[in-house]
């Protein structure tokens, strides 16, 4: 299978995930195309984060397969999947306690360090050069999310919105091909959220593919080219955000009878 000439970058095929007796993801298929922003939406408890965890290898699939650039990833360990070029953020920010802002992002640059752990321990001239280069990359990423002036501070002392931006910078550290954002605007006000949206578009324009779990429907319609709607771990609708929202199944499952109240 050739991977570079198809538009599909990432694919779920009939993925099932069971926890004990509970089926969290049920026969879900989904494709994400290169260079697009794809939204994954659904009501609370629909299994969106579970899907992200399956893609990144934190959970094993019960059945079905996951392909990235045509390669099966569902049997790989998380760090191998990351090495292929999939990076992510977390719904409830998981920065490392005790690390400065710069160190967080530097950890994100681990895959691109370009030197062995042993050379780095010895401090060979080459390793030092590469370390400096990684630091510069990290600083550059912090500038990109507007956090460069806080580089030396302890990340856990910053505000929630700032921590989210640091997490995005950290996820970009590995120079991924695909970025998974798990509710990147949760807990943000509108101005902050649209800043994130702007950033997402910049990243897409620089060639990154983005899969975004999002709660805020107006943001999805604004930012995503395509989207997948799931409920109870099952596919409900897919296509452009507009067609998804207009789908009657989606409306009953997701919005109930409140569609008018949302002003859509």
């Amino acid at each position: 299978m050739t991977s570079s000439d198809t538009p599909v970058l990432h694919e779920l095929r009939n993925v099932v995930k069971r926890f004990g007796g509970v089926t969290a993801v049920n026969d879900l298929s989904m494709t994400v195309n290169r260079g697009t922003v794809h939204g994954l939406i659904g009501p609370n408890g629909a299994g969106k984060t579970t899907v992200i965890n399956l893609i990144t290898g934190l959970f094993d699939v019960s059945s079905g397969s996951i392909l990235f650039q045509g390669q099966r990833t569902d049997t790989l360990e998380p760090h191998r999947i990351a090495a292929l070029g999939i990076s992510r953020t977390y719904q409830n920010v998981r920065l490392f306690s005790g690390m400065s802002v710069l160190e967080q992002v530097l950890t994100g640059c681990y895959l691109g360090r370009g030197t062995s752990l042993f050379a780095s321990f010895l401090g060979t001239p080459d390793a030092r050069r590469k370390w400096k280069a990684s630091r510069e990359t990290a600083m550059h990423l912090l500038e990109r999310v507007g956090m460069a002036d806080r580089a030396g501070e302890l990340a856990e002392t910053l505000s929630y919105g700032e921590q989210r931006r640091i997490e995005i910078a950290r996820a970009l550290g590995s120079d991924p091909k695909m970025l998974l954002l798990d509710e990147p605007t949760a807990g943000m006000n509108h101005a902050e959220a649209s800043e994130i949206g702007k950033l997402v578009h910049e990243l897409r324009d620089s060639g990154l593919t983005i899969l975004m779990v999002e709660h805020n429907i107006s943001l999805v319609t604004e930012f995503c080219e395509t989207c997948t709607v799931i409920n109870f771990g099952q596919l409900l609708a897919e296509g452009t955000p507009r067609t998804c929202i207009d789908n009657p199944d989606v409306q009953t499952a997701y919005f109930g009878k409140k569609r008018d109240a949302l002003g859509l």
Partner: protein
């Protein structure tokens, strides 16, 4: 000058044991800083201690060569044990490592040709305080470099959140394997240092007592930076000497009480780099409050704090 010599005679033994205990604590720290609670250092030390004693006693090797061999054998032991243990969940690993200490004691008692059995072994060579200090300095240099390297960054990530670290391409298994190997080598060195300081070792030398001292030192000093275990080891070694001068009967009790107080009031230990960052942030908050600005909306105790030992 004479006063200085008196001081030296009185306290050089304490200093020597402080150096030896530092090596034990650093070996424990090596795995603890990867998020693993394991007492296998005691086993590595037993391997290193008896090996060094045999090398010098039976084969007449010089001290330094014996110490190096002890380190290598400790590393070899850790490779075998890590292969077996790294599959286990954290709690089970802690328990299994305690069980391994019990087993190694039985093995030591029942292999008299290697260990002297119940009689133990007399070690003919004594390491000077200077030699011990040099050994600790070399090991410290290794930890200093590790901290500054990619490994140092990766191991902190693994300890705080192994799953999140793995999605950044950090293989927790690889990092923990390295941590175990370092623990093994340093543990082997610690055993040899112990043997050449006590000059007599037996099954009881490498048993639960040293395991408890080692974990207490590491926690007291702080397990978030390599210098912590060294500080903790020295405090914990000196403490009985100090209390002995005041009230000889209570020296062990004082040890326990200090440990208890530390756990309740200073759970991250004496040396805690994170505390500095927190204090800095608090100062900034105060300042901005004084300036009437609302620029810093810090959330102390936010979601990332305190994954430390989970």
């Amino acid at each position: 000058m004479e006063a200085l010599l008196d001081f030296w005679y009185a306290y050089s033994a304490t200093l020597a044991f402080g150096l030896v205990n530092s090596l034990f604590a650093l070996s424990m720290y090596s795995v603890l800083s990867a998020g693993i609670l394991s007492f296998t250092t005691v086993v590595f030390a037993a391997v290193g201690g008896f090996a060094a004693a045999q090398m010098m006693g039976t084969f007449g090797l010089p001290l330094w060569l014996a110490v190096v061999i002890a380190g290598l054998l400790g590393g070899l032991a850790s490779a075998i044990i890590a292969a077996l243990f790294l599959k286990l969940e954290t709690h089970w690993m802690a328990l299994a490592s305690l069980a391994l200490i019990l087993i190694s004691r039985v093995v030591v008692l029942n292999t008299p040709s290697l260990t002297g059995g119940v009689m133990g072994m007399v070690v003919p060579v004594r390491a000077s305080v200077l030699e011990l200090a040099v050994l600790l300095a070399i090991v410290s240099l290794v930890f200093f470099r590790l901290h500054k390297s990619w490994y140092g960054l990766a191991i902190r990530a693994v300890r705080e959140d192994a799953a999140a670290a793995s999605t950044m391409g950090v293989s927790a298994r690889q990092i923990q394997m390295i941590a175990f190997l370092i623990s093994g080598v340093v543990g082997g060195l610690a055993g040899a240092a112990m043997a050449t300081t006590l000059q007599y070792i037996s099954a009881d030398t490498f048993y639960l007592g040293v395991a408890f001292t080692m974990i207490a030192s590491t926690v007291l000093g702080g397990s978030f930076f390599w210098f912590g275990p060294i500080v903790g080891a020295f405090v914990f070694t000196a403490l009985p000497t100090i209390t002995q001068a005041v009230l000889p009967e209570i020296q062990d009790i004082a040890k326990g009480v200090v440990l208890l107080v530390i756990m309740i009031y200073l759970p991250r230990g004496l040396i805690d780099p994170r505390a500095r960052g927190l204090r800095k942030a608090a100062r900034q908050r105060q300042q901005s409050a004084l300036n009437g600005s609302d620029a810093v909306e810090a959330r102390p105790g936010s979601s990332t704090a305190g994954h430390a030992h989970d």
